[in-house]
């Protein structure tokens, strides 16, 4: 039976014999579905944000007046929380990769990233239980004596930051650990041998050799923190309103879908620009590919 090579179909059969065509057919539906899942909602939102019928009024409103400070606050909180994550992740992953005995390493790593396996809303409520006026921490502080009366810890910037740290630190730890593990410890020894103290070793060797990992982890968690909804809702106070809160209320409370979509796209654009800036560096791209 002859094969018409050009079409890839065997004569008299509907099923193609060429592997390329066959693979294309098999892959078509799932790829189309995935693309639709990703693109269609965004497209609908994009359309919604510039209607009715075609107007930029929603964007004008989003970029004007009262909403910009909230957007700015969200981005700032993202910066602070991300920086705090990195500040903790550096010594922890250095210890894990270069000090901790190899046989305890896996156990330590799993313990550190354990929160990843729990629902993040639940994780937030755990901190409510700890930080509340009648919570575990205040009870201990009062019972053990250092404090006369309980502190107001909950619904503050601090409690929100604690929540962000707790939830997003594991991502930073994992990314930084991959980077730290590839830091050649001989370089640390060489710098010490040539007269560098601990701080110099950190600045001259550890940071330059792991900066790509740090940037990559920042890119991964920054947008999620700046756009977080649950943590500010549960642990933050009324003055800690963040951008997602506004978007959600525009959707639900005011049913102003066009405005909510416009706000979302403004946020997306800001984050996307930041992401592109970070991804300009080839070494950061390589770190991101590990995810």
């Amino acid at each position: 039976m002859a094969t018409d090579r050009r079409s890839g179909f065997e004569r008299g059969r509907w099923w193609p014999s060429s592997p390329r065509v066959r693979d294309g057919l098999i892959a078509f539906l799932p790829v189309a579905l995935a693309t639709c899942l990703g693109v269609v909602p965004l497209a609908v939102m994009a359309y919604e944000s510039v209607s009715p019928p075609i107007t930029l009024a929603n964007y004008a409103e989003a970029l004007g007046g009262v909403y910009l400070p909230v957007l700015g606050r969200s981005l700032l909180i993202g910066v602070v929380a991300t920086a705090a994550c990195l500040l903790i992740a550096y010594p922890v992953t250095y210890w894990l990769a270069h000090v901790c005995p190899a046989r305890y390493r896996l156990a330590a790593l799993i313990t550190l990233v354990l929160p990843l396996w729990l629902n993040y809303v639940v994780l937030n409520y755990a901190w409510v239980w700890i930080l509340a006026r009648g919570g575990v921490l205040n009870y201990l502080l009062v019972a053990l004596g250092p404090l006369g009366e309980p502190l107001s810890l909950l619904y503050t910037h601090t409690s929100m930051l604690i929540g962000f740290l707790y939830i997003y630190l594991p991502y930073v730890l994992l990314t930084m650990y991959a980077s730290m593990e590839r830091l050649d410890y001989r370089l640390v020894e060489a710098a010490r041998d040539l007269g560098a103290g601990d701080l110099r070793v950190f600045v001259d060797v550890v940071v330059p050799r792991t900066i790509a990992g740090a940037l990559a982890s920042a890119l991964i968690v920054y947008a999620r923190i700046a756009g977080a909804y649950a943590t500010p809702e549960i642990l933050g106070g009324p003055r800690n309103q963040m951008i997602s809160r506004l978007i959600v209320s525009a959707f639900y409370e005011f049913a102003d879908w066009g405005f909510a979509s416009a706000l979302s796209f403004v946020f997306l654009a800001v984050v996307f620009v930041g992401f592109c800036l970070g991804a300009l560096s080839g070494s950061v791209r390589n770190e991101l590919k590990r995810w």
């Binding site: 050649d184 020894e189 060489a190 710098a191 010490r192 041998d193 040539l194 560098a196």
Partner: protein
């Protein structure tokens, strides 16, 4: 067997004399009884050594002998369990690596990949607070010294292996440390490049005059570059001396085998000349011959041995066996001369092979002993089966543990001798020697230079 204490005078001297004569000589490094114990292993078992200013000193030993651990303790990258490191008369044991006046060239070089060649070389100067103009001048000089003046702006990754090697050397030398520590930096290079860089190392060392402490498991490297060598094994220094002394007059069978091929015979001491107590050298390398020609031309102490069914003379170095002792004797293959008629021993040629600048023979003496012999390439080359006569030159008595005790009573470790199976292979009155066993034993020490098979590994 007479009193073994008669043969130990070198012993006490080496340990007690250690600290006292630093003033007489310009000692740049001294370690006192360093010990390093890991959870379940002893890496260093009491290492005392003294290195003089300007020396090219090598620590030589098979892998796992503790030489790298010793180097890292001297550098300050590891802490000893016990003992003291003294650099320039000052104890540095408590100091971190960054505050010690010694720099290390790492085995894998550890050049900073995120810095240029010039920045790498300048790093130690920056940390020492040298100002910019002075720094640039010294970096330039260092790059010229290693023959890479144009390479300052390149990345280390853009250099060849040999060039990186030189940059690592320059980076560690540029601050003019009292002591340069080299941890097998040449081991990753191919043979030709390694030999070139050995020459380079010596040239640089004599140009800057810095003391080099060089760790290697390659006896060829150590022999060709060093002023003195300390041979290590199982966390101890077995012997210290000039390459020539260690090669020609090793005091232990381990050293004899580690530094090259050796025929090991056993014999019984018939007479001594009584000069053993003044012999040169001792364990910590305190004295050694400063003019090494003496080692070859006039070994102090000659004993007459009954061996191979006849009598031979052998030199001893640092200890004196008593009449009646059974001892091991080593004879280098090149010290076995094959003559047509005048030799004192009779034998038969088992095999002969041409190696270019030398010939290699396997001889079977009339009593069954098998010897390896090496002659000049243009010398006599009897064919297999031919009868010949043989003379042994420069035989050297080495410590033998065959009677279950260490004749010098000091350092070796009886029972742990890897060459044990071959020791009696050529003994007088011992039955048929097994040349293969000898060879096996030699390879077993991990040292290379194997004769008889025609291959000459360079131990790497």
């Amino acid at each position: 067997m007479t009193d073994p204490s008669g043969s130990t005078p070198g012993t006490g001297r080496s340990r007690t004399g250690n600290g006292t004569d630093d003033r007489d000589r310009d000692v740049v490094l001294r370690t006192d009884d360093l010990r390093k114990v890991y959870a379940d292993t002893v890496a260093l078992d009491g290492v005392s050594l003294t290195v003089e200013r300007g020396e090219f000193f090598s620590l030589l030993g098979p892998s796992g002998c503790g030489k790298t651990t010793l180097l890292r303790i001297i550098a300050g990258l590891e802490r000893p369990t016990a003992g003291d490191v003294v650099v320039d008369g000052r104890s540095v044991t408590a100091l971190p690596a960054s505050e010690r006046d010694s720099h290390m060239v790492f085995q894998d070089l550890a050049l900073f990949p995120h810095m240029t060649v010039a920045e790498n070389v300048a790093y130690g100067l920056r940390r020492a607070g040298v100002d910019r103009t002075e720094r640039e001048r010294r970096v330039r000089e260092a790059l010229e010294l290693i023959g890479l003046p144009e390479y300052g702006k390149r990345d280390p990754a853009a250099l060849s292996g040999g060039q990186r090697q030189r940059v690592a050397l320059a980076r560690s030398l540029v601050t003019e440390p009292a002591l340069l520590l080299l941890d097998e930096p040449l081991s990753s290079l191919d043979r030709q490049l390694r030999q070139d860089l050995q020459v380079e190392l010596q040239r640089v060392q004599s140009a800057v005059g810095t003391t080099f402490l060089y760790v290697t498991h390659n006896q060829d490297s150590a022999m060709s570059v060093s002023d003195r060598i300390a041979v290590m094994r199982e966390g101890r220094i077995i012997e210290t001396g000039t390459p020539e002394t260690l090669y020609e007059h090793p005091r232990t069978e381990f050293v004899a085998r580690f530094l090259g091929d050796a025929n090991v015979l056993s014999g019984e001491v018939l007479a001594t000349n009584g000069k053993g107590t003044t012999a040169q050298g001792n364990d910590t390398g305190e004295t050694d011959d400063t003019n090494d020609t003496s080692a070859r031309s006039r070994p102090d102490n000659i004993v007459r041995l009954g061996a191979l069914g006849t009598e031979i003379d052998a030199a001893t170095n640092g200890f004196e066996p008593s009449v009646g002792d059974r001892v091991s004797v080593i004879v280098r293959p090149e010290a076995v001369t094959i003559e047509s008629d005048s030799g004192s021993l009779g034998g038969r040629v088992l095999s002969a092979s041409y190696k270019g600048f030398y010939n290699e023979h396997e001889l079977e003496l009339d009593d069954g002993t098998v010897l390896e012999a090496r002659t000049d390439g243009d010398g006599p080359r009897p064919s297999p089966g031919e009868r010949t006569t043989v003379d042994l030159e420069r035989a050297a008595v080495v410590r033998s543990y065959s009677d279950g005790r260490d004749p010098d009573g000091e350092e070796g470790q009886p029972g742990a001798e890897p060459g044990a199976e071959a020791r009696t292979a050529a003994g007088a009155g011992t039955p048929a020697p097994d040349a293969k066993a000898q060879r096996r034993a030699r390879t077993g020490t991990g040292t290379g230079t194997e004769t008889g098979t025609g291959s000459r590994s360079d131990g790497d």
